[in-house]
């Protein structure tokens, strides 16, 4: 069972944390120079960002959070040394209807494929459903992001929308998929056991 004592921001190897304005821009700037990461993370034309631009981005992000109150932004950090691993975002929250959109990514190639994203997604879902009390969440992902699609399916997300040829990249046209998960589906699968998809043996 989940209860007040169950940490919201900690999983086995990672924790969700705040932005570190001094250290993080350097790290995230490197990610933006990695086309593999950028095409997984961004739908719009990508461009590399210098650390100063990343820093500016953090500042406008925090202003937006303050003004609109419908965005939660977490950094994903290693539990062992608090190193920046990625980001996890809950955005466009529609409070009246109880829905929001998720986005997360692990920045550096060697850190991907180790189950860290799954741990972050587990935390983010609990935050969305058990803390914000949302009714449902959506993840939008291009069809070429096979690892992300496998991950969200493991968490019970259902493919709901397929915008045909909505991503033109690498000289090809790709569909853009939207996956949805209802609170009731999440509760049935995970909440009662208080576990993530991984430890459920999926």
């Amino acid at each position: 069972m989940l209860d007040i004592q169950t940490p919201l921001f900690e999983a086995q190897d990672i924790r969700l944390g705040p932005i570190d304005h001094d250290k993080d821009p350097e790290v995230e700037s490197k990610w933006t120079h990695d086309y593999e990461f950028m095409r997984l993370m961004e739908l719009k034309p990508v461009r590399p960002l210098a650390p100063a631009m990343v820093k500016k981005g953090y500042e406008s992000l925090e202003k937006e959070i303050e003004a609109d109150k419908n965005l939660f932004y977490f950094t994903i950090r290693a539990r062992e040394d608090d190193r920046l691993l990625g980001k996890a975002v809950l955005e466009w929250i529609d409070w009246t209807n109880g829905n929001g959109f998720l986005r997360l990514g692990i920045g550096s190639g060697p850190d991907r494929g180790r189950g860290l994203g799954a741990q972050a997604l587990g935390l983010l879902l609990r935050f969305a459903f058990a803390e914000l009390n949302l009714f449902r969440v959506t993840i939008v992902v291009p069809e070429y992001c096979q690892a992300a699609i496998a991950l969200v399916r493991k968490f019970g997300f259902v493919e709901e929308v397929r915008r045909r040829k909505a991503i033109l990249r690498d000289g090809s046209a790709w569909d853009l998929l939207a996956f949805g998960l209802l609170r009731s589906e999440w509760e049935d699968a995970f909440a009662l056991s208080g576990t993530t998809a991984q430890s459920k043996g999926g």
Binding site: K44, T96, G98, T138, V161, R163, I167, A173, A178, L182
Partner: protein, 192 residues
């Protein structure tokens, strides 16, 4: 292919937005709660025409990627509503369309469909888009039929996105590709 008049359809024309005029109209249209609930998932607010005008002028300035038109009748130049095409991704050439027919007596008579067909033509032959998308609420069957008539295809539904009157409703996604539009509508304008 030459088009005689990009902004002129069978029943309506697309015209420039006149902030003073359209904000007055919206302040009236918004008092019709059904209109508001078909238009947006946000709870309706009854903004003054002054507030609407301020918002609209800011919006026109800050969103250059939004192509915004007034819809007027050909017959007597009456303002019926508005339609916007927001390019969300120039790299992939995708835009979302939103349309509102505020004057109730023009619902269900083909005015919206005519405006939508003009907008599609504008999107595909002037902006050279690859696809145009929209979403529509499950309880707005009239709009759904109009979009199908204009050539949109069903692409999925986000389950239970909206809660109103104690019920949950889906949001339906539709899209039309450049090649689909060209095949069905593009030829009408070609010289034969």
């Amino acid at each position: 292919m030459t088009v005689e008049d990009l902004f002129r359809g069978k029943l309506v024309c697309l015209a420039g937005i006149e902030p003073e005029e359209i904000s007055k109209s919206f302040a009236q249209w918004n008092r019709d709660s059904e209109f508001m609930r078909l238009l947006d998932t946000d709870p309706p607010r009854l903004y003054s025409s002054k507030a609407i005008k301020n918002w609209l002028e800011k919006e026109l300035e800050k969103t250059p990627d939004m192509y915004w038109f007034a819809i007027r009748t050909l017959e007597d130049d009456r303002l019926l509503g508005d339609v916007t095409l927001s390019v969300i991704n120039w790299g992939s050439r995708e835009a979302f369309v939103g349309i509102a027919i505020g004057a109730r007596e023009f619902w269900g008579k083909g005015y919206g469909t005519d405006a939508m067909q003009l907008l599609l033509r504008y999107g595909f032959i002037e902006l050279n888009l690859q696809r145009i998308s929209l979403n529509v609420f499950e309880f707005n069957q009239r709009a759904l039929r109009s979009y199908e008539k204009a050539g949109f295809r069903l692409e999925g539904r986000q389950r239970q996105m909206i809660q109103r009157d104690g019920c949950r409703w889906d949001i339906i996604y539709m899209g039309i590709l450049r090649e689909e539009w060209m095949e069905n509508y593009g030829n009408r304008n070609s010289d034969q």
